[in-house]
Symmetry: C2
Subunit: 231 residues, 2 copies
């Protein structure tokens, strides 16, 4: 999210020595931020996928969003203590940027607040769509919808080309993102394969007919609030 508002910033990160100091890298499955911490920073994902998730006392995990390359994530910058964790799906390279640097990047405090306001609204819009997805759609639609969202966002970031993209998440990840079990995700993916809607193997996803997948998942991209509709 915020790929567009922050696009110029992302370019800057690489060229700014002050920021380069805060670039980190984590192994797959490691946490970037843990619930209850207060990093007072924002994270910018440079490479790899991460997920925002909550884990309950009973162990059940729910992913609330995925972070893709180019995405920003608020790690308690304004609210302090985070109410969720951020975990690496695969190997992740990211920048940890404090408010001062964000202001410098955005131009001034007002521009930062303004961009961050917009960013937070888009994140909330995506959350809303997930609530609908989990609350009111069948497993088949749910997974199709999730794939559509991720593919659409990847494409906007230039990471889905020629109908295919890297696909780091495991079936367990997809289960935790859709409120299903991994067993059922497995069966549902097979169904999507059988219907010719996806080809998914070896951490690589191919979508021969995205429009068809969108129809199945009742997907429309309006809630992503992309500047230019990538269609």
């Amino acid at each position: 999210m915020l790929q567009f508002d922050f696009e110029p910033l992302r370019q800057l990160v690489h060229g700014m020595p002050a920021l380069a100091r805060h670039i980190r890298e984590t192994e797959p499955r490691r946490d970037l931020v843990r619930e209850g911490e207060s990093p007072r920073t924002m994270l910018l994902i440079l490479e790899g996928w991460a997920s925002c998730y909550k884990q309950q006392r009973d162990g059940r995990r729910q992913i609330t969003s995925f972070l893709l390359p180019g995405d920003f994530a608020d790690a308690g910058l304004i609210l302090g203590e985070t109410d969720h964790s951020i975990g690496a799906v695969n190997r992740v390279r990211y920048a940890e940027i404090d408010e001062e640097d964000l202001e410098a990047l955005a131009g001034d405090p007002y521009e930062l607040a303004r961009a961050a306001w917009r960013h937070a609204l888009v994140a909330a819009a995506i959350n809303r769509e997930w609530i609908v997805n989990i609350g009111r759609r069948t497993a088949y639609q749910r997974i199709a919808h999730l794939l559509c969202e991720l593919v659409t966002r990847l494409r906007a970031a230039g990471l889905f080309e020629g109908g295919s993209c890297d696909w780091p998440p495991t079936q367990d990840d997809l289960a935790d993102a859709t409120g299903l079990t991994s067993v059922h995700v497995n069966r549902t993916l097979q169904l999507l394969r059988r219907e010719g809607l996806i080809d998914l193997q070896r951490r690589r996803l191919i979508v021969p007919d995205l429009a068809a997948l969108m129809r199945v998942g009742l997907f429309t991209s309006n809630y992503l609030h992309l500047e230019r509709d990538p269609l």
Copy 2:
């Protein structure tokens, strides 16, 4: 949400003739905003409950959040075209405030952006908790959790006192908010009654032991990011 940042604003609304012009009132079940519109305003709920919801082509409705008296809601102010509707649960009195007036209320554009940034982050945090609620909890826990959230927010607004509050939503509303059917909501509420956790009748909710209900719903208030924990 944002009851606290905007608390001084709310006071002002009543005393400001410029804003008083934009105070509206709707019948129960009527929409304040419909998906696809772009009101370029924020709504401040003064009386009654509203709900943000999405309706799919197949008719299935999902509520993504409730708006209680004192709550602000963004109606496309920044993002333009809204991706959801806002409907009145019961009779609602609200103010429709444009950006200029918001800036005047907040002090200046920077303060507004800053407050709105925080507001949007809290709204997103609540959405995340709903994703967990719907995705990973049983009907019994789910409804208990929803009741806890609403009671906690009502209490923060001074609308839950002596262990009880007005309760406008129907069982259909609760079903659409929890991803269940109204039949199952009905049965689950009866179970909660039988366990002595709630007393709910005639649009009035009594919670004899909120701590117990919170335990059942795996509820913690951290995600609401209330300034002072109302406990």
